[in-house]
Every structure is written in C-alpha cells, then in structure tokens.
C-alpha cells in the first residue's frame, strides 16, 4: 500500500470518499484533481466541512486528508481534466479513479486513459456509471471489464433521470472503488 500512487479525477461525492478511504488505509501517494470549490449542497455526501464552503476542493481535501493520515503524500492539481492533459496529470499514477459527474466527462476520461495507454505499463482504471437515487445498494456492482479496467455502478441510474435529490448510494459506489483499488494494489 505504502508504495502505490493513486490518481483521483474529481473530488466530489465519489472522489472525496475514495480519497478518505485510501488515506486511512495508508496508500503511498494521492494525486487529487478538481477545479471546483466546496459548496454547501456538497456537504450531504462529500468529505468537506461547513467551514470549508468557498474553498478550492483540492485545498480543502488536502487539509482533511493530512489531518487523517499525515504519512500519505498528497499532490493537488487544480485543473479541469481533458483528453490533452490527462496523461500529463496522471503520469505518476499506478491506478486512476474516474470520479467525475457528467456522463460525457466520464466517457472522455475513460477514452483519454485508453488513448495514451501503453500495453505492458500495467496502469489501471476504475470508473463509475450509475449510482443516482436511493435504489437498492445491492444493485451497485463491480464489473471487471479487462485486467486494467473495472466499472462500478448499476449502469443505469442517471442523475438526470432519477427524480430524487438524495445520493445515498454514492458512498456505496465510492467504497466499491476504494476496495477495487486496494485489491489491485494487493495483487488480487
């Protein structure tokens, strides 16, 4: 665990929860990427405090993670991820977590990973599709698509079509993501 570098693209409901789980587990290094600020509406599911509303997510999360486990090396990148800067940002990461929110951004992220993916480098990606609303937690699954790519979610619950403002399963999906990352680090 202590030698692994994990890149987290997006520090919202998924990303902030994955980061906390990995920091507690003792991952070596986290690359934290987001361009956005903490908003009050984020607090129902994201790992920030009321006092941090208005702060950059990268800065606020770095503060929180350092207070949880000062041994974890933390790199923050305050940028919007796109196809052109993807591998510049995640060059050092062994495993990359897709934690964005818009469907088009998620698609771009996965395709950007594969655009620069070199066979034999053994980089891995875990993405999420389908966690909106408060459907049954058991419908959130981890699918191993290839040796390098896992996909988590129920594959169908979109924030635009599920008419509920609760996000009770974000934590479930984030835990799946953190668990898959830990399994890969452990060679499972």
């Amino acid at each position: 665990m202590g030698k692994a570098t994990v890149g987290i693209g997006g520090l919202g409901g998924l990303g902030s929860n994955v980061a906390v789980a990995l920091a507690r587990t003792g991952v070596g290094k986290l690359i934290l990427v987001d361009f956005d600020e903490v908003e009050e509406s984020n607090l129902n599911r994201q790992q920030y405090f009321l006092s941090q509303v208005g702060a950059l997510k990268t800065e606020a999360l770095k503060e929180n993670l350092a207070a949880i486990n000062p041994e974890v090396e933390l790199e923050t990148i305050n940028k919007k991820i796109n196809t052109e800067n993807f591998w510049e940002i995640f060059d050092q990461a062994d495993i990359i977590a897709e934690c964005l929110d818009a469907a088009e951004a998620k698609t771009m992220f996965v395709n950007a990973f594969y655009k620069g993916f070199m066979e034999g480098t053994n980089k891995k990606l875990v993405a999420v599709s389908g966690l909106a609303g408060c459907g049954p937690a058991n419908e959130i699954v981890t699918k191993i698509i290839t040796d390098n790519f896992a996909l988590i979610g129920d594959g169908k619950s979109d924030i635009n079509t599920v008419p509920v403002l609760l996000a009770s399963r974000v934590g479930v999906a984030a835990s799946h993501q953190a668990n898959q990352i830990i399994r890969w680090i452990a060679g499972l």
Partner: protein, 66 residues
C-alpha cells in the same frame, strides 16, 4: 456476417470497421466507450479496427452522477 453487439446478434457487412458499426447503429461516438472481444479500443483507432465474424462488441454508455 453475424456479430454480437451488447449481447444481441446483429447482421452487418463483412469487414465493417468499428467506426462504421457505430455509425450504422446510429450511436454518437462521443457517448460511448467501445470494447471489442474484451479489449477497450481508443476512439482514434475506430477507423482502423475491423470487426471479424462472430466478434463480441460492447458499447458502454455512461450515465451521470458522482
């Protein structure tokens, strides 16, 4: 020739490329991640990837939230 797309059998022309298949299915290229016989294919390879008979194609459509 017969191929499988998202678990459904489809009849398509021989030597169809992945790009042509996506267009034939009236899917927007930027809305999907494409997997052919267990390998994810990057968008810049869609024109050069030729689908073989009986191959299994998965076009993964992401939904929003996270």
């Amino acid at each position: 020739m017969t191929i499988t797309v998202n678990s459904e059998k489809k009849e398509v022309e021989k030597n169809i490329t992945l790009a042509e298949l996506i267009k034939f299915l009236e899917i927007d290229e930027i809305a999907i991640v494409a997997e052919v016989s267990g390998k994810i294919i990057a968008p810049d390879q869609y024109n050069s990837t030729v689908i073989q008979e009986n191959e299994n194609v998965e076009l993964i459509r992401f939904v929003g939230g996270g």
